[in-house]
Structure formats: C-alpha cells, structure tokens
C-alpha cells in the first residue's frame, strides 16, 4: 500500500514538474527581456508578452516553403518534445522525481544534443544560404560546448560520486563545501549555458542583422505553430540550464524525496526565486559585454572545455580538490 502511495506521489510530483516547466519557461523569457529593456533604459514589453506571442503564433496558419520536406514539419514537434522531456527531468523544486533515473546528466546533455541535431538539419532543409550558415555555425559551437558540458558533468559526478541529478543535489545539500573543482565546473557551466542559449556574447537573440545570427538563421523559414514550438523549446532550454545550475550549485531549499507539502511549497518558492535571480544575472552579464565575432567564440568555449578538463584532472589526482 505504502509502495503504491509512494508511486502515486512520485507520479504526481513528476507530472507537476512537467506542467511547471512548461508554465514557467515563457515567464523566465519575458522576465529577462523586461530586465534587459529596463537596463537599457527602455520600458520593454510586459513580462507576460511571450505567452501572448506563443498564443498568437499557434493560432496563425503556417506558411511552408515550397520544397520543405516532411522532416521540416515533423521536427518542431520532436524538438519541443525532446527539450520538454529534458527540462522535466531536472529536479526543480523537489529531488527524487519518479522518472529522474530515466536519464542521468550525460543522457540529459545528449537529449539536448538530439534537439540541436534536428534543428541544425531543418536549417538545411529549404536550401537557403541563411539556413546553412546557421546550421554550420551552430554545429561548430556545439562541437565545443558539448564536450565542455561532458567534462563539467565529469567534474561534478566525481565530486558527488554520481551522475544522477537527484543524487548530486542531495550530496551538495549535505556536504556543502567550497571546492576548487566545483568552482571551475560552475564557471564552465555558465559559459556553456550562455552559448547553448544563443545569448550575448555568443549569439544575439534579438538580432535582425542576418550575418550575426546563428540560432535565428536556422529557424528563419518557420512560421505559425511550427515557429511557436521552436520558440517554446528555446524558452524551455533557457529554463533547463538555469535549473541545472540551480540544482547542482545552489540546491538550497529544494525538497528532498518524500517531503511534505510544506517543504515542497518552500522548494517551489525558492526555485522561482532562483530562476529570477539567474535570469537577472544573465541579463546583467549580457548588457555589460559586446557580442563576439564568430571565430572568437571557439576560444571562449575552449575556456569552458579547459575548465572542465582541469576540474576532472584535479579530481583524478586527488579526491579532495
């Protein structure tokens, strides 16, 4: 009986989490846009604008290029689903989600990679030069960001003795100490998160200057519901990385497995607080630097890769770093 109750509770928490990430992702995006506008002394669109945009887009008819293939129509759904699943598997307000073990941190990285693989493919589907330039550059960035991410995962996993996010969060909660390797990993992860979410200085999410865009160039041919799904997936990805940083490096407040309603509510509250804090810091960093030239980005991502590798090496030398 207790087992079944536990299972049901776990399923409820997991279901809540799936809805929660879906509900919060556009809010986080809207918040970052608002803060950015205020920092630039503009008024900016309302915080809820991304919801309205998404609603508007899914109600419109989709215009497809004449030679778009079946992959072009199917990919937005798959990209959205993959990113959603990945975001829902990161513990946000509670650890011990019932399907947390389905994918560990390495698998999560690879799931994000699956979404990117599809996105880069559809960038080439219509056969325009903009799509190609976006795909080519996205894969260049990914070819450094993904190994950097894996090395960061290695560092964290060697410290916590696990690649499971729940276990990592619990370990960090119980053994909170300052470690050199974790500092390196956290710095690296921020760099990777900036690059993966196409933020300044790697890419500009608001650009309409064609030669500077990467992510926007790939999705140039999309419209209507397809575009809505891709934008939603991008918002989910931002949420995913902020949650990932929160879960691994600032897990305080997260509700442990089997906690009561009160702890969960507190976990939810702190999680939302962490999201907004993360979004604010991101925008603050973004407004204080200029965008890089494309061929400076590999050096920037190389820093993350080296930080991750250094962290792993230190831990191979001694577990106490």
């Amino acid at each position: 009986m207790v087992v079944i109750l536990d299972l049901i509770l776990g399923l409820v928490v997991q279901g809540l989490q799936m809805v929660l990430v879906l509900a919060l992702a556009p809010l986080l995006l809207g918040f970052t846009r608002k803060v950015k506008a205020r920092l630039l002394r503009r008024r900016g669109p309302p915080v809820l604008q991304p919801y309205r945009d998404l609603l508007k887009l899914i109600r419109k008819e989709a215009v497809l290029a004449q030679n778009a293939s079946w992959l072009f129509r199917a990919a937005p759904y798959l990209i959205f689903a993959t990113t959603w699943v990945a975001a829902a598997l990161v513990p946000t307000f509670a650890t011990g989600l019932s399907f947390n073990w389905a994918a560990d941190l390495i698998a999560l990285t690879a799931l994000v990679g699956s979404a990117r693989f599809l996105l880069a493919l559809v960038g080439m589907d219509v056969g325009t030069s903009f799509g190609g330039i976006g795909s080519s550059r996205e894969m260049l960035f990914a070819s450094l960001a993904e190994p950097a991410m894996i090395m960061i995962v290695f560092t964290v996993a060697l410290v916590a003795g696990s690649t499971q996010l729940s276990a990592i969060a619990n370990f960090m909660l119980d053994n909170a100490t300052l470690r050199v390797s974790l500092g390196l990993a956290a710095t690296g992860l921020v760099i990777v998160a900036v690059a993966e979410n196409a933020r300044i200085p790697v890419d500009n999410p608001a650009t309409h200057l064609e030669l500077t865009m990467v992510h926007e160039a790939m999705v140039l041919e999309y419209s209507g519901r397809h575009l809505a799904l891709i934008e939603f997936a991008a918002a989910l990805k931002l949420l995913l990385y902020v949650s990932l940083i929160a879960c691994m490096f600032v897990p305080w407040g997260i509700a442990p497995a089997g906690a009561g309603i009160g702890a969960m509510a507190w976990g939810l509250l702190t999680y939302v607080g962490k999201l907004f804090a993360g979004g604010f810091l991101l925008v603050l960093a973004e407004t204080s630097v200029a965008k890089m030239r494309v061929f400076r980005v590999p050096a920037f991502l190389g820093i993350a890769l080296m930080l991750g590798l250094l962290g792993t090496l230190l831990l191979f030398v001694s577990r106490s770093f």
């Binding site: 008819e61 560990d104 056969g127 260049l140 993904e146 190994p147």
Partner: protein, 669 residues
C-alpha cells in the same frame, strides 16, 4: 554442435564461391541466386552463434579437420567470444546479402564480385571459428585477399587501383605482424593450437601486444595504421563497403581481443596507456578527417576510424582495470567496447547501404552533386536519418548506450592507482566527448547536404526510390538500432558470458531491473532508460500535435522560401559540404591538417571570378609513410645493382654470407 553447423555454413559459402566462378547464364539470375544462398548461410551461422551465446555459453568441444598442415590439423571451436563475433559477422553478412539481392542487379562487373563475395564471408567466419594459429592466419589471409579482389572489382578507375595497392601492402604488413605474434605465443615448444598457447610459457608478452596492435590495429584502422581504410572501403561495391567497414574491422577487433585478452596471459598496466592514447587520437583524427570529406562513402569510411577508436578506448580501459585487479569495472569497460562493436556494425552497415542506394539512383558519391533526395527517396532518407542519429550517439538510439557506458567506465577510473593512467584517462575522456560532438556535426553535414535542400544536379533531381530488398535490409537495421537503443539491458546481458570468460567478472544482470533501465553499478550512481526516454519523447510530441491541431490552427499554406526576402532559385547558392565544414576546418584543421585558405581576388576592373584555394595536408602520411616509401625506393635503387653482377661476384657473395652466418652461429652458442 553449433560449431559443426557453423562449419557447414562456411562450406556452403565456399561452395557457392566455387560455383559462382564457373556459372554461366543470365547474370541477374545468378547474382540473385548467389546472394540468396549467402543470405541463407549467414542466417544459419547467425543462429548457430545465438544458440551458443544464449544456451551453451561455455567452450564447445573443438572440431578438428584433417586439412591444413599435417601435424597440426585445423581446429575450430566456438566459445562465448567467438559466438558473439559470429553473430556480429553474420548479422552484417545477412543484411548485406539481402541488400545485394536488389543492389547487385546494377553491378557492371558481376563476374568480379560474385565469386569473391561468398569467399569473403567464409573468410571472416573462419577467422572467428579458428582455434589454432595456422587456421586463423589462413582465414585472415583469405579474408584480406578476397576483400582486396572486391576492392578491385572496378579496377579501371585509377583511384581504385591505388586503393588496392595500398590495401594489399598494409594487409600483408598486418598479417606479418600477426604471424610474428603467434610465433612468440607458440614459444619454443611450437604449440600452435590456442589451447597449447594458453598453457605454454610466455615469451616477451609486451612484444606480442605491440605486434597484435600492429597486425589487428592495421586491419581495424587504428591511427596511424588507418591510411588504407578510407581508400579501400569506398572503392568496393557498396554492400562490400558495408561489410568491410561494419564487419571486417570488427573481425580485426576480435583478433586483438583473442590475442591480448585470451592468449597473452595477465596484462601489464602500462600496455593500456599505449592503447588508450592511440584510441583517443584515433577518435579525434577519424572524425575530423571525416568532416573534411565530400565523398559520401569516404566520409563514412573515415568515420569508421573514429568508432574503432571508441571501441579501443573501452578495451584499453578494460585492460587497465584488469591489470590492477579491478574486475568489475574491467567487465563494464569491456562490455561497453563490445556493445559498441555490435552497435557500430549495425549503423555503419545501414549507412553504407544508404550510400549504395544513392549511388544506384544517381550514380553519384560526391555530396556536392546531390541534395534534395528526401523528396525523391523518402524511405531511404528515413532509414539513413536513423543511422545518422544512431552514429551521432543521440538518445534513444543505440550509439548513445555504448558511449554512455564508456563514459561511466571513465568515471570509475580515478580508482586506478597508476599516475600515468590518472593523467591520460581524463584527457581521453575529453577526446571522446569532442569526437562525439564532432560526429553529430559530421552527420548533420552528411544528411543535410545529401538529402535536404535542393537538388544540385539533374541526376539528384530525377532519382527514384530504391528497390524493396535494399529497403527491407535498411529498415531491418534501422529497427535493430532502435531496439538496441531502447532495450540495451538485453544486449548487455547477452555479453555477460564473454566478459565472464575473459575477465572473470561480468556486469550485473540488467534484464530484471524494473522498467528495463540499465544500471551499471548502483542506482544511486547512474542509470539510463532508453525505453522511457523514447516513450516520453513520443508521447510529448503526440500530445503537442494533438493540442495544437485540436485547439489552435492546422492550416497550412505553401509559398516561396522566405530567405530574408532575397530567395535565389539557383541551387548553387545553398550551403555545400565544404562550406558547412569551413568553420570547423578553420578552428581545428589549422593545426591538425595544416589547412590553409588562399583567396585570389582579381584586380579592380577585372571581371574574372575570385578563386578560393584550400590546401589540406595529411600529416600522418607526410611524416610517417612518405619518408618510409622514399627510404624503400632508395634502398631498392641501391640494391638494384646486385642484379647485374658477374658470376664470380655472385659466388663470392654466397661465400661471404655463408662465412658470416657460420660466425654468428659459433658466437651464439
């Protein structure tokens, strides 16, 4: 019993080869018949392997045939390792034969393919079945020579002749190394059966390892011995390319495992450093070279080099762990390597089948002349896309599972006590991660340029979907890629007897874990469930489709491409294979290939086109092979004089040789 059945299957293959040599009649009918018989024989051999691995597991009684050298005979025997590789070989062989029933019709020179193809299959099977050094080497040479003949099937193309020349040189070198390795293993007593070698005294085991690395590594394509592979694999007909890349390289891996893990006794820890370092370099060099190609089949061949690196990382880690007596992690790393052997044989065969289907439909291998094939060959496109996703290690397909296991094995290696390993393993982990990410870029390029976009030639525009047999083979392999990705526990469990036999430990049983997850060590440490990920993504995507189509819009309009308002109808304005790889070439290639770009701009007022020249250097060829070739040519020139001596001088040479040999003999004792 399965050993005898397997030998009968091999006999049927050899008989087919003989009949194909003398058969006269309608080429198409003979071709279909030969491939159908090969398919049947491969299925029988496959079943023999499965029966042994699942039900018998231990070592079968040897079958000794009175052929070969009179005082040795020919020993054949199945054990768990051989049974696993028998499955890999014959799964690939069955797929290739099925594919070739349709593909072979288009063969322009069937008389150069049909006799050698069954003999090639027989050779690979015999290598796996052999239980003494003589049969092993004989089968190895049979495999090498028949595949060489198949590489030269279209020998009128000078590129193919060059490929055949380099291949036969490297193959002979590899066999020589293996011959010496077996000589050392046999020792002074000269026991050439594998059983005698296991019991005999060890002579220079480190040298045996190096010779095995040279011999099996050159066949498998370890850097820097890989030079023949990207030349020879694409030159053969596509179903043979699939076999060479997907299966023959695995037979080489089998040879390596048999010698190093089974016959050569307990390993020393430093051996693994050599293997792991070579494997890491192989990964990165393989995938970077693949990225620079625009010939689809050559790209796939280079990519085989990368995957061999991944396999050898697993094997090297297994050797490192077992040298330090850590048998459980050793079993995990070994299983990861073997699982990648199986997975790679699936998706690489699938991708070569796809490239063969494209070659038939368009007569093109060059991606720069393809494009838009997803419209004309939608089914091939779907199967090829599955293969691309699997080889790029994307969940929930199978390539990811073996890479995930390899990563988990790397995460266990801080327990290794030796400092050399502590420093090299994280670096190789980074190389593995880098090559996995670059592989994704490589296959976005391969699929994107070949199948997506607009057709770049008339041939690509007028291509038609390939035949049913080829499609069946491709879809069967795509299905297996998915199956091995979502139910990896079953495949890991099937490998348990192999690890148990060679390392004395195996991974925990996976089949009974709830929800069919895989948990290599403990659930609190790491787990992965491909099935759930697959179901989740599927359900979420369907839910999104349902919600949007029901509550929002499902209207659709087709219009011209937007392209920021300036669409150009010329397909030459698309990104090409070269332009896709240009940023990566600029970032990585400047060091690895000494890539240089030179732009020649015409002076102002001149209407000539500007020219961009890119030069890439193959540093391995330039620093290793070219000097060697020069030295050999020089030596040959000097020695050439010996052919024009007088009889008096020849006699004095003979006398000098005799005296010096006698001197050596007297000093030796």
């Amino acid at each position: 019993m399965p050993t005898a059945v397997a030998l009968c299957g091999v006999a049927v293959l050899l008989g087919t080869a003989g009949l194909a040599l003398v058969a006269r009649g309608r080429a198409a009918a003979i071709s279909k018949l030969v491939y159908a018989v090969c398919l049947a024989a491969a299925v029988v051999l496959l079943l023999a392997g499965c029966v042994h691995l699942i039900f018998i597991q231990g070592r079968a009684e040897p079958v000794v045939l009175p052929i070969g050298l009179p005082w040795i005979g020919a020993h054949f025997r199945l054990d768990a390792l051989a049974a696993f590789f028998l499955i890999v070989v014959n799964l690939g062989a069955a797929g290739a034969s099925l594919f070739a029933i349709g593909y072979g019709e288009h063969e322009t020179a069937p008389e150069r393919v049909l006799p050698f193809y069954p003999a090639f299959l027989a050779g690979m099977n015999l290598v796996v079945l052999a239980d003494d050094a003589f049969s092993f080497l004989f089968a190895w040479e049979l495999m090498s020579l028949t595949s060489w003949a198949l590489v030269l099937a279209h020998h009128r193309d000078p590129d193919n002749r060059h490929a055949g020349y380099v291949y036969i040189l490297m193959a002979s070198f590899g066999t020589l190394a293996l011959l010496l390795a077996f000589g050392l293993l046999a020792g002074g007593s000269g026991g050439y059966a594998f059983d005698q070698m296991r019991e005999g005294a060890r002579v220079l085991p480190a040298l045996v390892l190096i010779l095995a690395l040279l011999g099996a590594g050159s066949k498998a394509g370890l850097v820097p011995l890989h030079v023949w592979l990207p030349l020879a694999h694409p030159a053969a007909p596509s179903h043979v390319s699939a076999l060479m890349s997907g299966v023959m390289t695995k037979v080489a891996v089998y040879g390596f495992i048999r010698i190093v893990f089974d016959l050569n006794g307990a390993p020393a820890w430093w051996w693994s450093i050599l293997i792991i370092a070579l494997a890491g370099i192989t990964c990165v060099m393989g995938v970077l070279s693949a990225l620079m190609q625009h010939d689809l089949k050559r790209l796939l061949a280079y990519h085989t080099v990368e995957n061999i690196g991944i396999i050898f990382i697993g094997l090297g880690l297994a050797l490192a762990f077992s040298a330090h007596g850590l048998s459980a992690p050793a079993a995990m790393a070994f299983t990861a390597g073997l699982l990648h052997v199986f997975n790679h044989s699936l998706f690489k065969s699938l991708l070569f089948f796809g490239s063969g289907a494209i070659l038939n439909a368009t007569a093109e291998r060059d991606m720069e002349h393809l494009g838009g094939l997803i419209h004309t060959m939608p089914l091939t496109a779907f199967a090829f896309l599955t293969g691309c996703a699997a080889i790029s290690a994307l969940p929930p397909l199978n390539g990811f599972v073996s890479e995930w296991l390899t990563f988990q094995a790397i995460l266990l290696s801080p327990t290794l006590p030796s400092w050399g390993l502590k420093l090299i393993v994280p670096a190789v982990g980074a190389m593995l991660a880098l090559s996995a990410a670059l592989a994704a870029a490589c296959f976005v390029k391969a699929f994107g340029v070949t199948f997506l976009g607009r057709a770049r030639s008339v041939a690509a525009q007028s291509a038609t979907e390939t035949d049913r047999c080829s499609l069946t083979a491709m879809f069967a392999f795509a299905g297996l890629c998915l199956l091995a990705g979502i139910l990896p526990g079953l495949f890991i469990d099937a490998l348990a007897p192999v690890a148990q036999r060679l390392l004395g430990a195996s991974m925990p049983t996976q089949s009974f874990i709830p929800w069919l997850s895989i948990v290599p060590i403990a659930e609190s440490r790491s787990s992965y469930n491909g099935l759930l990920v697959f179901v989740f993504v599927g359900v979420s995507a369907l839910a999104a489709v349902q919600v949007i189509h029901r509550y929002a819009s499902r209207e659709l309009r087709r219009g011209p491409a937007w392209d920021c308002g300036f669409p150009d109808p010329d397909p030459a304005t698309q990104y090409t294979a070269d332009s896709f790889a240009q940023p990566i070439r600029r970032v990585f290639g400047a060091v690895v290939f000494r890539a240089r770009e030179r732009v020649e701009m015409p002076p102002p007022g001149d209407a000539h086109a500007a020219r961009l020249t890119v030069t890439l250097r193959d540093l391995i060829w330039d620093t290793l092979y070219a000097p060697l070739a020069r030295a050999i040519a020089l030596a040959a020139e000097k020695l050439n004089r010996l052919q024009f001596l007088t009889i008096r001088q020849y006699l004095s040479l003979v006398f000098a040789a005799l005296v010096s040999l006698l001197l050596v003999l007297s000093i030796w004792s």
